[in-house]
């Protein structure tokens, strides 16, 4: 089990509409919103870290979301296989070997 607290920013005029689209995402709950500051507090729950990251990306890709930042991340033993950090997360470490290399 993975649960994260995420801060979402948008322009004040979009807070309400963003809150609606957030609630429509599986595992997302909106806990608080501040229209003037253009900020929303949400939690995201997913069975694995990878699914958690997917959910996060989904939030970030919503129309009118200008920033989504992770505040707290809680996890319990989930038996998930994390081969390494996913490669699209900008890291020099821990990638598995691409097929392309195997003919050598």
């Amino acid at each position: 089990m993975n649960i994260s607290g995420i801060s979402v920013s948008t322009r004040p005029e979009w807070v309400e509409s963003v809150a609606q689209s957030l609630s429509a995402i599986k595992g997302v709950e909106v806990h608080a919103a501040d229209v003037r500051a253009g900020k929303l507090v949400v939690t995201l729950e997913a069975p694995t870290v990878s699914a958690e990251v997917e959910g996060f990306k989904r939030i970030r890709a919503l129309p009118h979301v200008v920033a989504a930042d992770l505040v707290q991340h809680y996890f319990e033993e989930d038996g998930e296989i994390i081969h390494a950090i996913p490669d699209d997360l900008d890291t020099l470490e821990g990638v598995s070997v691409p097929d392309a290399l195997k003919d050598h």
């Binding site: 501040d34 958690e52 990251v53 930042d69 505040v71 707290q72 991340h73 994390i82 598995s96």
Partner: protein, 913 residues
């Protein structure tokens, strides 16, 4: 029951989140938070992943990490983390984590063609030592090499730097930061005479104009991006400009988006300089008091090999540009020469030399960069009208020049990974200095970094082949002598010959001049361009490659020996971020299995050698320096004995477990109950990280690089400190009297950096008076011309390929990519291409294609949509995608001055697979 527990955790996490965001928290939720966390132990640490250097808090329970959060007290991120923050607590627990040494064996003995088999640490070190001695005996200090890292902790980098340079007397140690930061460093040296930025992240809240030069901060620096968007949204007058070669996420909030062609950022900056002069906007009092003008040679090549001996047949025409360049129309105008002139590249050996020129010369240099010329050259989107583009350039100049505006320019890889990376960095300072908008809150050119300790470890500790700690340089006799003093080693122990830079170590492996190489915390065979060469060199040449790793990446797979490393929070460490902030953390959890910290590996290896193995005379072909016999390092053993050393002393004893260091005891109260697996394993009662810190501190003291005491960084209320830390106070803006005690009283602004501050005088064409003239206290405003890319699209390879690091592509989610069957059928990695370019090649979205350059080809899937909108003529493939090894295709040109690779441009063709 379960549900209620979940709800309970959720409301507790929502409470923490609301607290950070500044929204009210209900009392019930606050109580839930307290209850959930009652058995956890929280401690501060630093994020593992990028140069922003966010503070995090880590909760451990029963030897494992259970939660992480953005540190609300960290001034960098104020409680926030980006998406990568998820992995801080998780990366240690992957299934394929390496937990014991693996060596290629056949019939129980090391064999280059053998299979990886688990071995003991003892066996691993035995073979490492045997191979080391063999190579060292045959080839001396030049024959061995180290690939270091901007992800090394400061202490790890410091120890390896000392082992190589003082112990092995080899300068063949270079970090992967070479490929991310070196151009920034070269420009800091040439312009200011000292490395690293004047400003800090608070510039974001002080400024009203932010210009992003080829830096997709929305994806690369998300936390800084949040600060930028907050600033933009809260201030109607604030403006954000995004200069880029294709439309990316940072454009979402930008007020002005300028899409330009590769390398033409050089021309755009000269256009701005020309406008500053034409509009009589030069800040004359600032420039006259604080600056001089300078330039250098143009014919400096592209950092490739000088010979085509190792080039594949198809590569030879590109390689030939290293020797001769035929000027195209644009270069001819930009360099005031004739189109079609063939220019021999005469200054490849000393591309960094430069000299002072007059303001009139400078003005003449930028004169050709008119709006008409630059717009026609630089316009990157064929679908945009020239008039609109011109208008945008004019707006950009307006924003810089407006006397009422403060301006911060940000850049990262777009400038640094550039065939003229040093020049384009220098040009950014050029405009800020001309306008006097530098080293003040909200005003300044700000070079950001990618890796978490590119600044702290690679640059400050000087783990480069030409550097020593705290802005000292290998070729400088005084700097070597000072270093020998701090290290208490005999004079002339240090090798005065600059070692091989990152790309050159790979070339050395290819031509056999290096035969033993060790890699820590980086992945050269994955990340270095033109990879086919290097993979062949590693697998098919007679050499020995050791890779210290946590997970089996490409470099581990091509290695001969894999050493399992402890990861970030399994050891004590410290990183330095892009705003000069040094942060340290304690070990939080133990490393799994046989995994051990890189520092332990370094120290254990040092135990295997004696001083007499290295401190006698050594052959170093090519060594030529004052006070040294040619090609030779002197025997320093007699002097060493006078200092109390014995030839039989181990390197461990002589360099690391010194009498002073042994006095720094482990355990130590600063640990507050946290363990130190390295101190425990060494077992001789000292605290290596703290001892090295004390040693290292000496280098910067009184030199503008002062660091605080070890325990200070670990104090509860400290969240890192920006050096120089003088009398316990950090420095927010360097070179500015108001903030920086190193500035002479009454000077206001003083660029006090000491390097390259006496240079010859000349004009745009060369030196006229070779006598060095001092420019102490001043910065240099460089004229640097536009230069065309070494390889450009032509009839056979008709598209630009740009590569980069992060890309949001959730169509090909991480989950699906983990399923092997799916993976094989459809490679997850994609190539972004403009729909019209795709159509012209009979391609549609999801088609499999080959992308091929003169150097190699890979298969990818076509993507025509998404957030990154390609302009016609350019395709984009991300680097770090396991499905597509794009570095088989990329070109290994470098900035000739900084030796940093240019991943951003080469020519390719694309066709159906």
């Amino acid at each position: 029951m379960q549900l209620s527990r979940r709800e309970f955790i959720k409301s507790s996490i929502a409470a923490s989140t609301a607290g950070v965001v500044g929204l009210p928290v209900s009392r019930l939720a606050a109580a839930a938070a307290a209850e959930l966390e009652k058995d956890w132990k929280w401690d501060k640490a630093v994020c593992r992943f990028c140069g922003t250097g966010c503070g995090i808090q880590i909760a451990t329970h029963q030897g494992r990490i259970v939660a992480t959060k953005g540190d609300p007290d960290a001034p960098v991120n104020r409680g926030l983390n980006c998406i990568k923050g998820y992995f801080n607590g998780k990366i240690m627990y992957g299934k394929d984590r390496l937990t014991q040494p693996l060596m290629r064996l056949k019939d129980g003995k090391f064999d280059k063609k053998g299979q990886f088999v688990p071995v003991t640490w003892e066996q691993a070190f035995d073979e490492m030592e045997r191979q080391f001695r063999k190579t060292y005996a045959a080839q001396g200090p030049n024959g061995v090499a180290m690939f270091g890292s901007g992800q090394w902790t400061i202490h790890e980098g410091y120890a390896m730097n000392k082992l190589f340079k003082a112990g092995f007397r080899s300068n063949n140690l270079d970090p992967n930061a070479r490929n991310c930061m070196a151009s920034a460093v070269a420009a800091f040296y040439s312009v200011f005479g000292t490395d690293e930025p004047a400003g800090n992240y608070d510039d974001i809240e002080y400024t009203d104009t932010m210009v992003l030069w080829g830096a997709n901060m929305a994806e690369m620096h998300p936390i800084l991006w949040s600060r930028i968007t907050d600033r933009r949204l809260a201030h109607a007058n604030c403006r954000v400009v995004n200069l880029t070669t294709f439309r990316n996420m940072s454009s979402d909030i930008a007020d002005l988006e300028i899409v330009f062609k590769p390398n033409t950022d050089l021309a755009i900056q000269n256009y701005i300089a020309r406008e500053i002069i034409a509009r009589d906007a030069v800040n004359k009092p600032f420039v006259e008091k604080n600056c001089v003008f300078a330039t250098g040679p143009y014919d400096i090549g592209y950092g490739m090999r000088a010979t085509d001996k190792y080039a594949y047949p198809a590569e030879k025409d590109t390689q030939a540009k290293e020797v001769k360049v035929k000027l195209d129309k644009w270069e001819a105008i930009a360099q005031r020469r004739k189109e079609g002139d063939v220019v021999e590249q005469k200054n490849t050996a000393d591309p960094a030399r430069h000299w002072m020129i007059s303001f009139e010369d400078f003005k003449q240099g930028v004169e050709p960069y008119t709006l008409d010329f630059v717009a026609e050259l630089a316009k990157g989107d064929p679908d945009e009208s020239l008039d609109i583009f011109k208008n945008k350039l004019r707006q950009l100049a307006d924003l810089y020049i407006d006397p009422k505006r403060k301006v911060v320019s940000f850049w990262t890889m777009g400038f640094n990974q550039h065939q003229r990376g040093t020049w384009v960095n220098e040009q950014c300072y050029m405009n800020h200095l001309l306008l006097g908008k530098q080293s003040m809150p909200g005003n300044g050119a700000f070079s950001l970094t990618g890796q978490p300790s590119a600044c702290g470890t690679a640059r400050e500790v000087g783990t480069f082949s030409h550097r020593l700690p705290a802005d000292r340089l290998i070729p400088n006799p005084q700097h070597r002598a000072e270093t020998e003093g701090y290290w208490k080693i005999p004079a002339k122990t240090l090798n005065p010959k600059v070692g091989s830079f990152y790309a050159k170590i790979l070339r050395d492996l290819e031509d056999g001049s290096v035969k033993w190489a060790w890699v820590q915390v980086n992945n050269p065979w994955h990340t270095h361009p033109n990879a086919n060469h290097w993979i062949r060199a590693a697998r098919e040449q007679d050499n020995f490659i050791i890779v210290s790793e946590a997970y089996p990446g490409i470099s581990a797979k091509v290695a001969d020996l894999i050493l399992p490393s402890a990861m970030i929070y399994e050891k004590w460490g410290g990183y330095g971020n892009a705003e000069r902030r040094t942060q340290q953390w304690r070990q939080q959890v133990p490393p799994p299995g046989q995994a051990r910290g890189d520092l332990w590996q370094t120290l254990e290896f040092a135990k295997r050698f004696k001083l007499k193995d290295f401190w006698g005379a050594q052959k170093v072909p090519g060594l030529k320096a004052d006070g040294f016999a040619d090609n030779t390092l002197p025997d320093v053993m007699a002097d060493a004995q006078k200092l109390g050393y014995s030839p039989e002393d181990s390197l461990y004893k002589a360099l690391f477990a010194t009498p002073e260091n042994l006095k720094v005891k482990w355990p130590d109260a600063v640990a507050k109950g946290h363990d130190n697996h390295i101190a425990t394993l060494l077992g001789d009662g000292w605290f290596p990280e703290k001892a090295f810190w004390i040693e290292y501190q000496q280098f910067g003291k009184g030199k503008g690089k002062d660091l605080a005491d070890f325990d200070v960084y670990h104090a509860d209320k400290v969240r890192g400190l920006k050096w120089p830390v003088v009398n316990g106070k950090e420095v927010a803006w360097r070179f500015n009297e108001q903030y920086d005690p190193y500035v002479t009283k009454g000077a206001g602004i003083e660029f006090y950096g000491k390097l390259f501050k006496a240079i010859p005088t000349g004009n745009l064409d060369g030196v006229t008076d070779p006598a060095p003239k001092s420019l102490a206290g001043k910065a240099k405003i460089f004229f640097r011309p536009y230069a065309a890319p070494a390889e450009q699209p032509d009839a056979s390879y008709n598209l630009w390929l740009c590569t980069g690091r992060v890309l949001e592509h959730w169509h090909s989610g991480t989950m699906t990519r983990r399923v092997p069957e799916l993976h094989r059928a459809v490679p997850a990695a994609v190539m972004w291409i403009h729909p019209t370019d795709a159509e012209a090649r009979g391609l549609k979205r999801n088609d499999l294609v080959w992308i091929e350059s003169r150097r190699g080809k890979v298969k990818v899937r076509v993507e025509t949509g998404g957030r990154n909108k390609m302009v016609k003529g350019t395709v984009y493939v991300p680097f770090f995608d396991e499905g597509v090894f794009i570095n088989r295709v990329t070109l290994d040109t470098t900035c000739p001055i900084s030796k940093e690779s240019d991943y951003k441009k080469c020519a390719v063709k694309v066709y159906k697979a």
